[in-house]
Symmetry: C2
Subunit: 374 residues, 2 copies
């Protein structure tokens, strides 16, 4: 039985039982029927095939409306507290695929206010700077520069605040306590904050003066925000936004979530080849203590961080992934070889990403919501 775990927008600890988590949050698991609706629009994204994106709220509404010609807007975001790592860009890649597949607009919110409020030592100057850095990574993934708008809370607050006020008026402290685990020591900005994260879900509707469906693909740790947001939507004249949730991208140490708090187990998008080699070299694997033992008993890919990196992000080909699984279990391939191969894949990806990240500086100014200047 899994140990107890905790998943909130600000803390992920323990070994996550994702089935149990979906049950606790009350989200629906993605089933074959839903996948077949996705398949009408092209080959399933690897993260859907592998149920990395595994749970949702009201995805069928999104398809129903889309099929009636009522396009949805995508909305996701990032709390800019540090450098971008692979765990951040995983759901962004899925968003990019969704944008391409359905040809839709996208709102990307950087919650510099959130990070300022929730991090003891963060300044607004720092969270703004990190938002800029993080946005370069988002753009580098190839989002449509015309259809994608970057929201920075402190810059776009004039438009967001009236929507946030409507949300805030409908959520009392009791609810906020229950949903987010706040207590008497929580600061009053943090208590209000969820309203600001709710606002972009209604922004397209607000601007168009009609209800535009909103789909939010993001980590399931954000569900508390969107549960609260959905609960008030109808009462303030909007339709409920839909969500599609992914699992947490694992850390190299074998933990459930890649975390910036352990930089040696975290690969940043700005890491050098050498840093990647070093970090992957120290990754937790499912291998045996000796080569001899592993040749006989085989490895255990299920607990292996290196395997997970292939599974989550770096081996799109299911056949090749299955082969890798077999070869590991049979003892044909050793951890060292796997690490070398993954390092190579990551470095190929990062080299291209870093080039595109540099080029992103030329277009970021055109992608800000309401044209704010960084």
């Amino acid at each position: 039985m899994a140990e107890d775990f905790k998943v909130t927008p600000w803390e992920v600890t323990g070994d996550i039982d994702y089935d149990l988590l979906a049950e606790r949050f009350g989200t629906t698991q993605i089933d074959d029927e839903l996948l077949s609706r996705f398949e009408r629009y092209g080959k399933l994204h690897m993260m859907l095939r592998r149920r990395i994106f595994y749970s949702h709220r009201d995805m069928n509404t999104i398809f129903d409306e889309y099929e009636k010609g009522n396009k949805f807007v995508l909305y996701t975001g990032r709390g800019p507290s540090g450098n971008t790592h692979l765990g951040h860009i995983m759901p962004w890649m899925f968003n990019k695929w969704m944008q391409d597949t359905f040809n839709v607009d996208m709102l990307f919110q950087f919650t510099d206010d959130e990070k300022f409020l929730f991090k003891q030592d963060a300044s607004l100057g720092e969270t703004r700077k990190m938002a800029y850095e993080n946005a370069l990574d988002m753009i580098a993934l190839g989002f449509d520069t015309k259809r994608t708008k970057i929201i920075l809370d402190t810059e776009n607050v004039r438009t967001l605040y009236p929507i946030a006020l409507k949300v805030a008026k409908k959520i009392n402290f009791s609810t906020a306590k229950a949903v987010f685990g706040f207590d008497n020591t929580t600061n009053i900005g943090s208590i209000f904050y969820t309203s600001m994260q709710a606002a972009p879900a209604f922004l397209a509707s607000e601007m168009a003066s009609r209800n535009i469906p909103c789909l939010i693909p993001c980590g399931i740790d954000q569900d508390p925000h969107f549960r609260a947001c959905r609960d008030v939507a109808l009462s303030i004249g909007y339709t409920k936004p839909s969500q599609i949730y992914c699992k947490m991208f694992p850390g190299l140490s074998g933990s459930d979530k890649m975390s910036s708090s352990d930089p040696t187990a975290t690969i940043y998008t700005t890491d050098s080849n050498k840093e990647v080699k070093k970090k992957v070299g120290k990754a937790f694997t499912g291998g045996c203590v000796s080569v001899e033992e592993q040749r006989v008993k085989g490895g255990n890919p299920e607990v292996c961080a290196v395997f997970k990196y292939n599974y989550y992000l770096f081996e799109d080909d299911d056949k090749k992934l299955n082969e890798l699984t077999e070869r590991c279990r049979n003892g044909e391939i050793l951890c060292g070889e796997c690490k070398v191969a993954l390092t190579e894949k990551i470095n190929v990806f990062l080299e291209k990403h870093q080039e595109k990240r540099e080029k992103a500086k030329d277009v970021i100014g055109d992608m800000t919501f309401e044209g704010f200047k960084w």
Copy 2:
């Protein structure tokens, strides 16, 4: 002994014992020494002579800095939930006198967000509209159109929000509960709101990148906000704003605060001569049941709403006020005569005010902070 009373920014009930209130809030009563500092700059305003403005926090700092050449900025405001009445403009008149006397800038905040959050049935469209109407009354009082800026929270939030965030990060729910009496049913917008009311106190400093003293003349019911604001000021790099507080303008029914919830006991700036006559005619007085009795026993100006109106607003001449007091106590003047005289004074004032209020429409566009459009 006075009955128990309650004074919060949102509720004033009972017979207010102002000495006790100042003690409860921990504000300092204005003494002769402080008045003599005011007197250096001209004849004392009637509201100071009569201790209508009666209590303060750190007024001496304001004078100390002013005398060193460090001018303060005035800041006051209004929660735009309804038409302006005489109770609202009383402290505004004092602000206008302060501006003229000390030749200083003034920030006037309209808290449309507050009224939306705290009033069950208010919409943002309505609170915005009321802010415009209220602002006309403020301008009609003759504030320097160049030195006075109108803040509307939802319009100027881009500038206010970063300051509000700094404040909010330093106030926890425990404090908010204790200061404002919030509980689990309070909505999360209301809990956050005090940060938005704190923001203009630091705005001049923020814009000048140096500490500019701020003086807030307003009703003492607003003290909870500014107590919380002062408590966090130093920790976020600002000096504490100073306050000078007035008593509540009485209602015509004899109650302690003129309230919009009883329109028959409330004189609005837009009332016609006829309406004023009718309302003053029904005012609570300190007279006796019969003319004969009053001629013998005299009236009681202390409880008389008509007398209070002269005292608070309509009889600037202390000698004339004393004469009126004597003539009332001696039974020389009857309530009917007093009512006719007050009606006349109010109508003379309102006629001129209404003219200036119309003209205010021509300049209001130039007085908005950061040039927002109504």
